[in-house]
Symmetry: C2
């Protein structure tokens, strides 16, 4: 997907919401567990109910792998369902992959060719040749871990070089922004670090940021928008558990829609100055 | 698997070889591609021919994911086959995972519960809570990326703090060695950086190192052993392409065995002083 198409979708839906399909088998409603495809049936209902409140779906591969080969099948089927029925959606594989060149090439093939994801999240530790194979696809994206939303982020991401006058996460952003362009590279920026989002915006004024950590992890949407929004929006704010597991009854889809609409409504106001 | 059991296996097989099953569909012999389970049939032959030349097999998840749901099935089936027929083998999922706590927990469940891997490789960028869920399993291991064998390793792993007087990869090792013990934590240390292996041995004299990069990537086994071996061996040296794709005829299994035996014979001499 082109950046301009993503932006137009944001304007028309008045939303920069990404819904995370962290579809944990143990947390899905009981009545689905006796069906043949519990994870897919769960996802389908969430997708049908929420696709017009959000611009992206993010599939967290861990929750599918944890369910074995059937889980992998549910991942493939969900990706296919979204692209077939809602081709405007920006589809993210939250896989956090990264390996030597010939291996990363395989991961890229997996998510961009076998499945039709628009973007894959990648870990930067192994450097350029672990990420460049993902950049060889037209209209596909890498989303590189910059500053993550979890507590452990402080273990290494704030590691500081006095000589370079930058922290590791800044080094990652400053280096990796030159590997691709604003049309194929985004950065993960945790919502729990609102003050840092301001700094990151100075480093990369035009890149899209994928922002996890709003909701269950405690980040504030208002703070994120205040510090992160740019003239092409430049934000995809993700919420997973807060939306998809808001209700474990047969009514879970409608409840998820309600939660997603609440966020969508807040976003409308934040976007009003852009349109 | 306990560390002592791994060491005893090393002594009895006179080998610290790990064979990487980077089973790329495009590179396996043509006659296997018309079978129903090409990746599994390829792996089975390699395993049958080489299991007594090596102490570990490493399955690189990328090559299975790139083959879709059938690939995932081949991954599961191969892991099962190894554990059933060669329970002494140390079985590694080379997955380079790492995510926030509740997600890493899913990956741990995937590789340690659904499948019976002894170890998973993990990326350290997201810090302690991304790795600790893997440490909650008795006799299971995490293998943390320290200094990798690829060219891109220099992009961030050598990032230096003047105040802390250490590079990022040293910071990772110095920090992460305290999360677990020498009985559940290893570090990836690329064979292409032989001089650095000496430094790493000073930081962690007793930990096992998983060493990729010998063979196709250019690292020297002699240099690695000279700088890395400790009194419990402390090394697993991996070779993938150099062994498994040494021949693409029907004779590929015997050729792989020959290549593995060559390495095994070199290792015998290196280990003679330990027994």
């Amino acid at each position: 997907m082109k950046r301009e198409d993503l932006f137009q979708q944001i304007l028309s839906k008045e939303s920069f919401l990404c819904i995370g399909l962290d579809s944990d088998y143990q947390k899905i409603p009981e009545h689905l567990k006796i069906t043949e495809e519990p994870l897919f049936q769960f996802n389908k209902e969430i997708i049908d109910q929420t696709h017009n409140t959000c611009v992206a779906f993010k599939l967290n591969t861990a929750f599918y792998e944890a369910f074995g080969r059937e889980g992998w099948e549910a991942l493939e089927k969900t990706a296919e369902y979204i692209k077939k029925n809602h081709p405007e959606i920006f589809l993210i594989a939250d896989a956090k992959r990264g390996d030597i060149g010939n291996t990363s090439k395989m991961y890229a093939r997996c998510f961009f060719e076998n499945m039709n994801f628009d973007a894959v999240t990648v870990a930067p530790y192994m450097g350029s040749d672990s990420i460049k194979p993902f950049l060889g696809y037209e209209n596909k994206w890498v989303i590189i871990l910059g500053l993550t939303s979890n507590k452990g982020a402080s273990d290494f991401q704030f590691f500081y070089s006095e000589k370079e006058k930058q922290k590791l996460y800044e080094k990652v952003i400053n280096t990796a922004k030159n590997w691709g362009t604003t049309d194929n590279t985004m950065f993960v920026t945790g919502a729990t670090k609102a003050e840092e989002i301001k700094k990151i915006r100075k480093l990369i004024p035009d890149h899209f940021l994928l922002v996890p950590g709003v909701g269950a992890q405690g980040g504030s949407l208002e703070e994120v928008a205040k510090n992160g929004i740019n003239n092409k929006c430049g934000l995809l704010v993700n919420s997973s558990r807060g939306i998809i597991f808001s209700d474990d009854s047969k009514n879970f889809g409608a409840s998820a829609r309600k939660k997603a609409l609440e966020i969508n409504n807040s976003m409308k106001k934040m976007l009003s100055k852009l349109s």
